[in-house]
C-alpha cells in the first residue's frame, strides 16, 4: 500500500482510468478504513460492539467516503494533504451516520410536545434556587421575555432542540425543513437578539456566567 503520494499524484491517479486508479482507490480505502476502525473502537458509545462489527462499520463508512471523495475531487483546493482532506470527508460521513442512527426514531414534534420552548424552563430554575441573585433573576426574566415574545416559533423550537435536548443540527435542519446553513443563521439570529437584549439592560453574559459557577 502506498499512501505517500503527493497531492498531485492522488488527483492524477484518481482521475485516470485502469490500474493506477484502481490502486489509488484501494490505497485510500484501506487507509481510511484502518483509521476509522481505531477511531470507532475508542468511542465510548460504541463500546458494546465487537471488533468484527467495528470492522464492518468502518468498512461501510470508508466505502461511502471514497465515493464522496471521488465525487468531490474538483473541490480539493490543496490547503492540506490530500489524505487529510479525505479523512475530513470520512469523519463527516461517519459521524453523520452515527448521529442519524442515534436520533432516527425521534421526532422533534414529539419531544417538544407542542413545539414550544418550555416557557417556565428557566423560571423554574430560578424559583428552585433561592441563592439566585436579583441580577440573575433579572437576566432570566429578560431571556424568557425574548424567547416568548421576540423569537419566532421556529427559533424557539430550534433553540430548545439544540440547547436543551442537544439534537444534532443535521437532524434538526431536516425536521424543520431547512438547509444546514439556514438553521445556523436562524439560531445565530436568536443568539444575537438575546445577547443584545441582555446588554441593553446592562447585563453581561460573561459576568452572569461567572455568577452561576
Amino acid at each position: 500500500m502506498s499512501i505517500s503520494r503527493e497531492n498531485a499524484d492522488w488527483l492524477a491517479h484518481l482521475r485516470s482510468s485502469g490500474a493506477a486508479r484502481d490502486l489509488a482507490i484501494q490505497d485510500l480505502f484501506a487507509w481510511l478504513q484502518n483509521r476509522l476502525f481505531f477511531y470507532l473502537r475508542g468511542r465510548d458509545d460504541l463500546r458494546q460492539l465487537h471488533d468484527q462489527e467495528l470492522q464492518d462499520l468502518s468498512q461501510d463508512f470508508a466505502q461511502e467516503s471514497v465515493l464522496v471523495v471521488l465525487q468531490k475531487l474538483d473541490q480539493f483546493q490543496g490547503r492540506s494533504r490530500f489524505t487529510t482532506w479525505a479523512a475530513k470527508i470520512a469523519v463527516h460521513q461517519a459521524l453523520g451516520e452515527l448521529r442519524r442512527a442515534r436520533w432516527c426514531d425521534v421526532s422533534l414534534q414529539a419531544i417538544t410536545q407542542d413545539g414550544r420552548f418550555e416557557p417556565e424552563f428557566f423560571r423554574r430554575m430560578a424559583s428552585h434556587n433561592p441563592e439566585a441573585s436579583a441580577i440573575q433573576q433579572e437576566a432570566i426574566a429578560v431571556v424568557m421575555d425574548v424567547i416568548e415574545n421576540e423569537l419566532s416559533p421556529r427559533q424557539r423550537r430550534a433553540l430548545y432542540a439544540r440547547m436543551v435536548l442537544g439534537m444534532p443540527s443535521s437532524m434538526l435542519a431536516e425536521e424543520l425543513g431547512l438547509t444546514h446553513n439556514a438553521l445556523y443563521k436562524l439560531i445565530h439570529d436568536a443568539r444575537k437578539r438575546l445577547k443584545a437584549r441582555l446588554h441593553a439592560r446592562g447585563l453581561d453574559p460573561e459576568e452572569l456566567l461567572a455568577s452561576f459557577r
Binding site: 484502518n34 481505531f38 442515534r102 434556587n129 445556523y184
Partner: protein, 84 residues
C-alpha cells in the same frame, strides 16, 4: 448508541450553556459548511505545532460554539494522530 439523547439536563446546566454560547456569539460567524472547508488545514496546523487559533480565529470561535464541528475536529485529529 441511543442512550445519550435521553439525558435531559437540569435547567441550570442549560442556562450555563446558553450564557456560555452568548459570551461567544459574534455579529459575524462562520457556518458549519464554511468551517468544514478549513478544518483539515486547521488540524494540520495544530499537528505541526502552529497556532491555528491565531491563524484561523473564526474557525476556532465556531469550534467553541458548535458541538458537532467540535466532535468532527477531535475525530479528525484523532484519526491523523493514529500511528499504524
Amino acid at each position: 448508541m441511543n442512550a445519550s439523547r435521553n439525558h435531559r439536563p437540569h435547567a441550570q446546566e442549560v442556562w450555563q450553556k446558553l450564557l456560555h454560547v452568548l459570551t461567544l456569539t459574534r455579529e459575524r460567524e462562520l457556518t458549519c459548511t464554511e468551517v468544514e472547508d478549513f478544518i483539515d488545514y486547521y488540524v494540520e496546523l495544530e499537528l505541526a505545532g502552529e497556532n491555528p487559533q491565531k491563524i484561523l480565529p473564526e474557525v476556532a470561535q465556531h469550534l467553541r460554539i458548535c458541538p458537532e464541528c467540535q466532535e468532527e475536529h477531535e475525530a479528525l485529529r484523532n484519526i491523523l494522530e493514529t500511528d499504524l
